[in-house]
Symmetry: C2
Subunit: 183 residues, 2 copies
Amino acid sequence: MQLQAKYVILGLLYKQPMSGYEMKKRFEEHFSFFFDASYGSVYPSLAKLEQEGCITKQTVLQEGRPNKFTYEITLQGREQFNDYLKSPLGTDSTRSDLCMRLYFGEFTDEQTIVDWLERGMQANLEQLETLEKLKNQYVSQMSAAQRICISIGIEHHRARYDSIRQGLEQIRQMDPIKKEETR
Amino acid sequence: MQLQAKYVILGLLYKQPMSGYEMKKRFEEHFSFFFDASYGSVYPSLAKLEQEGCITKQTVLQEGRPNKFTYEITLQGREQFNDYLKSPLGTDSTRSDLCMRLYFGEFTDEQTIVDWLERGMQANLEQLETLEKLKNQYVSQMSAAQRICISIGIEHHRARYDSIRQGLEQIRQMDPIKKEETR
DNA sequence: GGCTACATGTAATGCGTTACATGATTTC
DNA sequence: GAAATCATGTAACGCATTACATGTAGCC
């Protein structure tokens, strides 16, 4: 019972009805550091869950914007989600193109490595800032567990940012000539 | 050109011939914090790469253990790997069952959350220790980029471990009665 | 005898991405 | 008129996992 879109969707609907579009938004804004799924994953999952009787579909007519379909969780859906929560904790998995490239860094030139590090650091910084804003904005409404969740994300990005920054400094110290040249 | 088994394999063979079994080992021992792939992924990838002319297969007769097939990278394979290194840096992606559950923590009881945190913390600590040993063991042979790579991994696990530990403390402070009871 | 490590593979299946396809409404 | 946001979906494809299947050799 691995972490997959299905359970995330059920979890979101556990509290309130929601549309597929809104779920995807939530993934981007709140879940970025531990989950992501594309529309091509959420819509089919929604269709399948409905077919299985875990959720029901409602049409919501909207003015000033396109209509949408929201989904409500059924008793059966709640049971499935509870089963997931009771199942053994799964392991985390990360895929990092940056780390991969650094591992094979000896097969390219120094400038390329510096570029990777700078890009990686920048991406990290942006995510860190986004998470900090998110925390400030929602901290009062968050559960204790959610506060731990976001702390993990923030500290993760902070640690990564620091590691990359230090790495860059070390490379530049090793090669002071290049450093002067690029100024 | 996303990070996938194919390029990782080519990267490993860039330096020296290797068997599928050895690659999987390397993933477990060195790559755990940024990549993983099962045998069901590496053997078919190897077959495909050979078919494409990126690698060649050799049979190595061994005594005292089963024979094995090692693979050598071809010129074409090297070119493909260089193209990967030249392609734009991909984004990192993480999937964390722990964070997912914490996000939905309000739908379960406190003891369950504490269990998750303890398990997560333990798993993290083990990985941290493994990485630190790895670093101590290989640091003298590692390239500058590889040293940065492993630092990212170590600091990532350390930050995560600290976040979880602090989270646990906060939960226990909130609920001193339970804390006494479980002693 | 049983367990672990070494060693390679296949088949079924699932999960997920990308690109495609469409269309309304709002804002600049 | 163009771009962004809102909104839903499909199809092709690839990648990867799990479970299955097999076999050797060393060690306790």
